[in-house]
Amino acid sequence: MIDVALTVNGRAMTVSVEPRTLLVEVLREKLRLTGTHVGCDTSQCGACTVHLDGLSVKACTMLAVQAEGRSVTTIEGVAPDGVLHPMQAAFREHHGLQCGFCTPGMVMSALALVERNKNKPLTEEIIRSELEGNMCRCTGYAGIVASIAAGAKAMGAKVEG
């Protein structure tokens, strides 16, 4: 077993893991942060998306040992006091989800793409192309794209169209 020191949702901690343990396994099974989902476990669907030092990554495609010294934010860390983040509220308002399985990953990717594009106006084209790593089997994406545009606006971002 290897000790990994990392920060999860602002809390510094040390977890003891096997080298082959995935980051998503630590989050879900050790820390009981079950908001991060496992859809495919083959690096395709993005349901497991979390932020690593602010960048979106697939937690099923990272070993926990690779998070040594890093800061991880999960969907639970987005609304720490139980009040929905404006991006989450926008998903509820604009039909950004049906079954909800993809939603935590969608929201984490949405927040990352708003941050990544903060120096230019956000367009539908940018939103769609930067959602390529996230799949949804229910909505057909139109509601998700509308939610992200509305959520970004609520966060103070410039949105075109």
Binding site: P19, R20, S43, S56, K58, T61, M62, L63, Q66, S109
Partner: protein
Amino acid sequence: MYAFDYQRAKSVADAAAAFEKADDAAFLAGGQTLIPTLKQRLRQPSVVIDLGTLTELKGISVTQEAVIIGAGMTHAEVAASPEVAKAIPGLADLAAHIGDPQVRNRGTLGGSIANNDPAADYPGAVVALGATVHTSTRELSGEDFFTGMFETALAPGELVVKVSFPIPRRAAYAKFRNPASRYAIVGVMIAETASGIRVAVTGAGPGVFRVPEMEGALSQNFSIAAIRNIRIPADDLNADIHATAEYRAHLIGVMAERAISAIA
């Protein structure tokens, strides 16, 4: 995943030494290929040597002649680099269209070329731009580095350290991507370099290859018309559920035209 030991490399020399000592080691960079491979139990290394914290593999520098990119630079870092975008916009554009944002935040240049997936994008740029691959022991041209499907000239324990891309007069990459994975079904990079026009094709064959006939025609006349009648034989091209060999052969012409029209 089978169990393995884990070691965090402290330097390139330390990584190579650890590899030497182990029965069957594997280097880990961004993990976007290695981790899925381990999950499928297609590899069973005794130890995984993590290159993720090596500052020696990081960084981008630009000289008069070349853009030098560390093997550990992620696709997102290359795509977002103003220096790369200014010196070789076609390269920044290529990096920006690898996989998806999450893959780009982890996957690296070194991992991509060491893996040499026949559908990977970077091999096209390494060969088209006439880049030099700097390893822990030597320097290799793209043609010498890429030796076959998923195969390279890397000896066991030899690391990719950086890649030096000569700055071309102009270059563009056009990819017909697999809509699910974004890997290249066919990708064509065309560059006008100091040593002439170079056309490299990825995705279509067992490995990246050049098209001398197109290079000759474009040297005479850099236009779509110059290559319109060049037919690529389908004989040695890949065929799978995504595209037949004939379709890939056709796409080489189409992607070449798109690359030319981007910079003509």
